[in-house]
Every structure is written in structure tokens, then in C-alpha cells.
Amino acid sequence: MEQFNNRNVAEGGYYLVDIEEYPTDGWGKFKRVVKRTFRGELFVGLWVVLREMIRFDIHTIQYPEEKMPIGPRYRAVHEMKRLWESDTERCIGCGLCEKICISDCIRMDTRIDENSRKEVTEYTINLGRCIFCGYCAEVCPELAITHGGEYENASDQREHFVDYEYMLTPIDVMKQNAQKEFEGFGAITPHEDERVKKTPLAY
């Protein structure tokens, strides 16, 4: 994680390259040619690539078999989280995500269930329209809709929908306490408890 967080690129040892003055007269150009010819810079290049070939330190990731770990803040296909306490869905059907979605790809339908609680009946995201901006995850008051790490969502048609059941954390995963919280947009930042303030009414 540390390498993602450190944005100060200058620490890596940047330095000014010492560039010689360009020759202007013929004699200077001739001297430069002679110097370049006999200094063997070309052989340095040859040696560098040969060294890499001998070292055989291959950096290729053979993608379908091997995958890079992606950052926990990566914004790929959405997920619906469950509550840790009761294993029920976190989504309260408020519709904020539908409202804020700038590409209009979220549609939801709700009803009042027997316990007078709002229940989501339909919830789809059109991944063909979604631009993965993260607003839905940021606006969600319950941390219910988040982004996940599933980026392999190629489809044979432009309208590729994911629905509520697909996004929802499976109940058996939940039973094993294996649900992963999203650390990106909208997530609770570290040390949130120390930084939280009471509402102005209490002052």
C-alpha cells in the first residue's frame, strides 16, 4: 500500500542531467563525431540489453493465468455489502445513487414491505453506460453500494447489466466473515472515530 500512497516522486533521486553545449562550428562538430565514434557508447547499449537477456528477469504477467493484485481503492464492477451484525442488506432503498449517477445507469424500484421497511425490489446497473466515477459509492449513506475488484466485465453487447442479486455479497461468504470492505470512494477513512464531531445542535 505504501507505494500507492507516496506521491512525492522527487524523492526517488531526481537530478539534473549534465548536457554539454552543442557545437556550433565545423571543428566542434567534427570533434563531437570523433568522440562519439570512439567512446563506444553503442557498445554500452549492446551490453545493457545482452545483460538483461542473460539475467532473464522476465517481467511479463501472463494475464489470464496470472493477475496483478489491484489496489483496494480500484473502481470496478459494483458490489452490494451486507451488515456485519445481522447479515441483512445494507441498502435502505433511499435512491441517492440513482439520483447522483451522472451517466444515468442505475435504476431501482422499491416497496414498503410487511415490516414497514423500504425494500429494494429491482436494482440494475447498466455497465455499458457506467463510467465508474464512484459517485454512487461516495453518496451512499450506508456504505451499501461500493466498487469491487472485478474488472473482467467484457460483454458481447453494449447494454451489460448487473442486478442486485449479482452484486450482493453471497450469504455464505457473509457467514464466513469473508466480506471485504471497500477502501475507496465513500469509505470510512482511518482514525474516523477520533475525527468525528458531534452535530452542531449539541454545542
Binding site: 547499449g45 540489453v49 545482452l50 538483461e52 522476465i58 511479463t60
Partner: protein, 327 residues
């Protein structure tokens, strides 16, 4: 003409054609692998063991692709241009002794199609004609990148050809023959020519890069400047012919350099033959090696190099050789 001679020649021609067409394909495999390893990649791995069947897959692709003749091209010239490149590359092979002579079932085989008196002149001439392929193909195409490529081909052609001719002139003066067999035999007697003519060797090697259009001088079909140059409008097997021609040329020039300068196959023993193949492999590898390591030069830089540096050096080399031989 003897029937046996005729049959032998035809067999040799067919063998050379088949072997070097296949080698051109395998050459692309080696090029991709070597370049990949030098750039810390894997190269082709998925088709067949170690990606070896990639060559076959490429071949199938090239053969089955549609042969497109675009609307605005000069069709007859456009169609014949790739054939010129491939044909001249293989024609040049006629005067190259690939191996020393050997006996098979009591029959002596000379692995050279024809040991003509003007061997090296013929090889250089025919290889030079090969440059007409890119030039005509580029001029017959109907886009500016191909035209630029054709112009570059002409410029490169007149630049390096002078250097090649003058560089090889000094060894020819020493050997007193143009036949590659004579070159080989001379070196068996007097030691490798590279020791007495190091300048000519380096000059000829540099010119070989321009001849084959390999990376330091890969400006005829420079992808990042002029798309694929003369090959922009070609598709399918016509483009493939350009490709085979280029790689066959690389192999042939990799044979010619050791035969001219590095002792060839020596006294004709099995070891000597293997040594020739080893030297050839090194020069071929060097073509790939430089592609990974060196940047391309601009056309004006190539012409500057050829006309203002290499040609004077070659002329001085010829003069000095002449003086040394005279006194």
C-alpha cells in the same frame, strides 16, 4: 548440358528455396524471442511449445488473408513489387557457398548453385536490385507514407551501395577474384581477411545493415514515422513476400560476411562447416541485437554517414591497400 548437372542444380535450388523460406519464418520467431528477452518480456509462448508454432500460425494468417489491391494504386507495379524483393533475395543465394563440398553416397555435392567468376559482384548487384521492391511498391501505392518510403529507399540505396562496393574493393584486390570459393581458399592460405582488412570489414558490416534495412538504418519502413512505409497498403501474402525477402536477405548477408572476412568454412572439414554456421548465427543474432539496443537514424544522418564518413574512409582504405600491395 549434362542431365545430372541439371537435376543437381534444380534440387539445390529447391532445397535453398525451401530451407530459406522456412528459415525466414523461424527467423521471425527468433527475432521476437530475442527482442522479448532483451526487453524482459516472454515473446510468443502460447502457440505450441515455447510458442514455436507461432510461425505456422503467422504463415496460415498470411496465406489466407484477402489480397487487397486498393483502388488508386498502379496495379501492375503494385503486384510485381513484392515478387522483386523476394525473388532477388533468393537469386543472390545462387553464388553463396553455404557449406563446403561433401560426399553423399559417393557423389560429391557442392552446396553452391553456381560458382560463377563474378560471385560477389553478382550477389551485391542482385541484392541491390532487391531495393526496387520497396521503391516500386512505395511509388505504386496511393499514399504519402509509401511515397516517402520509396524516396527514402532510393536515397538509402545510392548511399550505402557506394560504401559496400568500395569497402569490398580492397579485399577483392588482395584476393584477385570475385568468387566466394576463391575468397574462402585465399583465407585458408593467408589467414582471415578481417585481420588484414579490419576497416573494410567494419564498413561492409555497417553497409549490410543499410542493405537489409535493419534497425540503425531501418528508415524505409519505420513504423513510428511513416507507418509501414512501402508496406502500408499491402496485405496478405504480398506483404508476406516482402517479409520473406527481408529475412532471407538477412540470412544471406549473414553468410556473405563470414565468407568474405572471417574465413568462411575454412579447409572444408565438418568443423569448418559448423564454424561457418556459427558465424552466420552470430551475425544474424547481431541484427536482432542491434534492433533491441540502438535507435534509428534519420535519413539525412544515414546519408551524412555514408557520403561524408564511410565513403572517404573506404576510399582511403582502398588507396592504402593498393600502396601496400604495390611496394
Amino acid at each position: 548440358m549434362e542431365t545430372a548437372y541439371l537435376i543437381e542444380t534444380i534440387i539445390k535450388v529447391v532445397v535453398i528455396l525451401l530451407v530459406f523460406s522456412a528459415l525466414a519464418g523461424i527467423g521471425t520467431y527468433f527475432e521476437r524471442k530475442v527482442l522479448a528477452f532483451m526487453q524482459r518480456r516472454l515473446g510468443p509462448v502460447n502457440v505450441g511449445p515455447f510458442g514455436l508454432l507461432q510461425v505456422g500460425a503467422d504463415g496460415i494468417k498470411l496465406f489466407t488473408k484477402e489480397d487487397i489491391i486498393p483502388t488508386n494504386v498502379v496495379a501492375p507495379i503494385f503486384k510485381i513489387a513484392p515478387v522483386i524483393t523476394a525473388a532477388t533475395a533468393f537469386m543472390a543465394a545462387a553464388a553463396i557457398p553455404f557449406l563446403p563440398q561433401f560426399d553423399i553416397f559417393g557423389y560429391t555435392v557442392h552446396p553452391i548453385v553456381s560458382d560463377i567468376d563474378v560471385g560477389i559482384l553478382y550477389i551485391l548487384g542482385v541484392m541491390a536490385v532487391g531495393l526496387f521492391g520497396p521503391m516500386l511498391g512505395g511509388m505504386a501505392s496511393a499514399n504519402k507514407f509509401s511515397l516517402l518510403s520509396a524516396a527514402r529507399a532510393a536515397a538509402v540505396f545510392i548511399s550505402y551501395e557506394v560504401v559496400t562496393g568500395l569497402a569490398i574493393l580492397a579485399p577483392i584486390m588482395m584476393v584477385g577474384s570475385l568468387s566466394l570459393i576463391d575468397f574462402n581458399n585465399y583465407q585458408v592460405e593467408h589467414g582471415w581477411i578481417v585481420w588484414s582488412q579490419p576497416v573494410a570489414f567494419v564498413l561492409f558490416w555497417i553497409a549490410a545493415f543499410a542493405e537489409t534495412g535493419r534497425t540503425p538504418f531501418h528508415l524505409i519502413a519505420n513504423d513510428h514515422e511513416i507507418i509501414d512505409g512501402f508496406g502500408t497498403e499491402y496485405s496478405g501474402m504480398r506483404w508476406g513476400l516482402f517479409f520473406i525477402g527481408e529475412y532471407a536477405n538477412m540470412f544471406f548477408i549473414s553468410f556473405v560476411i563470414p565468407i568474405l572476412f572471417l574465413g568462411g568454412f575454412g579447409d572444408g572439414s565438418f568443423l569448418g562447416a559448423m564454424a561457418l554456421l556459427g558465424k552466420m548465427a552470430f551475425f544474424f543474432f547481431f541484427f536482432l541485437w542491434t534492433r533491441a539496443a540502438w535507435p534509428d537514424v534519420r535519413p539525412d544522418q544515414l546519408m551524412w554517414l555514408c557520403w561524408k564518413v564511410l565513403m572517404p574512409v573506404a576510399v582511403i582504405n582502398v588507396v592504402i591497400t593498393g600502396l601496400v600491395m604495390m611496394f
